[in-house]
């Protein structure tokens, strides 16, 4: 066997960490490293790397000359020089800051961004729709978690169970990709539309997943690991009863509210004609006045997603406001103001004739 003629790597002897009292270290991702400069140093305006402040991957004991500092942006704010990494700091990794001043040896300061999720145990925090009675043709559940979760294992843990606790293995859609939000704290679970839509094959073979008058539970079994592996989920169960199906498009003509009192910050509260999709509801309603100026304020979906309140930041200037509703807003059965998820095949023609015209418009004319 041939030995490779490789130069021994030059590693400087371990340098003791010397606390720099003028250094502010970040505690969470997104915060910069900040160095307070001595008198006379602040007028120096670097554009790229700075010899006085540099951050390296790894702890102080792994630092040696010749290492490349982490790329990022240097900025001056008065007597402070700050460094913001181009890609942020990775939680759980060690970093070392090297500070260097004229005529002094450099100082090394370790830091580590604590993992964001280590403190919080994995829990189901919310399930939407939040009501106790859900329609027979319910389309989706949202399961919210306290921490990011491990992907690709949801079908092993999430189940729809009947009143005797028996899981329905074909209740939910199976996709190649699970439907997560960006930080994997919200999972969307879709009831197989084939089980909801009347007279299609799965609906005929297996029957609907939810039957009017029956009791069910959406369960999440214990043992599902959090994405960072620091905890596993405790079991969770949401029990509900099934009521009649929602077969009509939403109708704003049946929404209810009280007149506003100008000069107050009293919340505008709208009672809907049905429960709406919790996630879409977040951005679907806007309050405007005059010829469309938006009113700033805080919305609150309520009453199991069957109402919506809006508290203005400033007192109402007029009682004459309009609510602009995104016509893509869906009810919990997946129907929006333009179309129904499930149309009765016997009335195809009649519905097609009105499908481009919001029913609420016709009702009001």
């Amino acid at each position: 066997m041939r030995m490779n003629a490789r130069q021994a790597q030059t590693v400087s002897s371990p340098v003791p960490t010397i606390y720099d009292p003028d250094l502010l270290l970040p505690h969470r991702d997104g915060e910069p490293v900040v160095l307070r400069l001595a008198d006379g140093e602040a007028d120096h305006h670097p554009t790229g790397r700075d010899q006085r402040l540099a951050v390296f991957v790894g702890g102080a004991d792994s630092y040696h000359e010749g290492r490349l500092p982490v790329a990022g942006r240097y900025e001056h704010h008065g007597e402070f020089l700050s460094f913001t990494p181009a890609f942020g700091f990775v939680a759980g990794h060690d970093y070392v800051v090297r500070t260097r001043r004229d005529g002094e040896p450099y100082r090394l300061n370790d830091f580590r961004i604590p993992p964001e999720t280590s403190a919080a145990p994995a829990l189901v925090t919310d399930v939407y729709p939040s009501g106790d009675v859900l329609p027979e043709n319910l389309l989706r559940f949202y399961v919210h978690f306290s921490v990011p979760m491990t992907p690709h294992v949801a079908p092993d843990f999430v189940a729809l169970r009947d009143a005797s606790g028996v899981a329905d293995p074909a209740a939910f859609m199976r996709f190649k990709q699970e439907l997560w939000n960006a930080d994997r704290t919200r999972l969307t679970v879709l009831i197989d539309p084939g089980r909801i839509k009347r007279s299609v094959a799965t609906n005929l073979d297996l029957g609907p997943a939810l039957r009017n008058g029956e009791r069910y539970a959406l369960t999440v079994d214990e043992g599902w690991p959090a994405a960072d592996g620091s905890s596993v989920l405790q079991s969770f169960s949401k029990r509900f009863r099934v009521g009649g199906a929602l077969r009509e498009r939403p109708n704003v003509g049946r929404w209810r509210w009280r007149p506003l009192r100008p000069g107050t910050r009293e919340a505008l509260r709208i009672g809907f004609d049905r429960p709406f999709d919790r996630h879409l509801l977040e951005h679907a309603l806007h309050v405007v006045v005059g010829d469309g100026q938006p009113v700033d304020g805080t919305p609150h979906p309520g009453d199991y997603e069957t109402s919506w309140s809006f508290t203005p930041d400033e007192p109402w200037t007029t009682g004459d406001v309009r609510i602009v509703v995104d016509d893509a807003l869906e009810d919990v059965a997946g129907s929006n103001f333009r179309e129904l998820l499930d149309r009765d095949v016997g009335h195809r023609l009649a519905l097609a004739a009105t499908s481009n015209t919001p029913t609420q418009t016709r009702n009001q004319e």
Partner: protein, 409 residues
Amino acid sequence: MSTQTTHDFVLSAAVSVEAASTAGAPSSEPSVDMKFAGALAFSDDGILFVGDNHNGAIYAFEIPGEEQPGQTVPHSIRNIDAKIAELLGVRLGAVEINDLAVHPVSKEIYISATRIGSFASQPAIVKISIDHDISLLNTSSLTYQKQLLTEFPEDDTKFQVRGSGPGPLLPRDTAKGAISMRSLAIMDLEYYEGELFVAGVAYDSFQSSLRRISYPFDGTQCMTAVEMYHITHDRYESRAPIRAMSVQQVDGKPQLVAAYTCSPIVLVPLDELTDGAKISASTIMDMGNGQPLDMIPFQMGDQSMLFVTNNSRSPQVIPVDGLSGAKAVTHEDFERGPKLDLHPLMPFGPTGKAVMFEGVPLHMALFDDDFFVSLTRDAYTGDLNLDINPTFFPNRVHNLVAEMDFPRT
């Protein structure tokens, strides 16, 4: 583009409700929204083209370069991937290197990479100056254009899992089923006389395609579906994409010389690349095996050559002269049946010669008339090094011991 429907109806004197549509709402884009930095190519005057397989777009960054006075000589940099990881603020395993290109004027070396974070990957383009400084390219300070690609595959279309022989599927086999087809949607970029040629997979029906986009981008693009006869597989293939390509004068006209996996090389006359066309490329050779990585034109003395690197065989040096007059073959030219590595027919056609190149060049580019630069994994140490390789002798041999290395007595 409408943000509100015209059904402005009044429900009561006090509050009215109207429906608005989300379709076509104006978006506020950040300055550079690149999600992946993949294939790289430079125009002759320093436009850096970057393929973004995630967004389905080509970005064109204007990088003015100053000519260096006197002879510039590239230098080797050991453990280049570790240095890039240091720069991007992560450990070594969290960096993937995607491509390499050399600025034609300044001779700065550009490397596209992916920084793998806990939840998301981020693109990075790293610049190596002529005096060895390694820095992150600040794309937000550059003037750029972006061209979205039409018929781009959906993100959730994945490879099928076919296994690699008899026996149960191994994890390495099933892992292929998690790879998005988009990763093959932009394979190689080639700039030629004011146009950018893009090879890759289009549509969700997986068609091998060549896109032709004039630069500066004007929003238009032309796309051609390409089929070819694959000698080794003995079949006509229209899905697996071109891996590496170069425009050369062949038989008196400009043609794309294009290399496929496993591993035919075909010719496509540029005048056949019209929008919507489905063309048959002319198969003129087949190596018999391997997955091509880069095809780099260079001069060896007065001879024009193509240096074709490969992840599973030595680089091949192909004389451009040999392409003219080469016979285009079909299934009628051979006995039927697959012809694998050991078949006496292989390698077939004017393939040139394989050259000795210890280690595997991950990516290569021409630095100038005298040198290539390569990202090569050293066979002994496993280090990924930025290496230099002379064009007059395009080999990598310094780890080998031969008669001439013994002391003279």
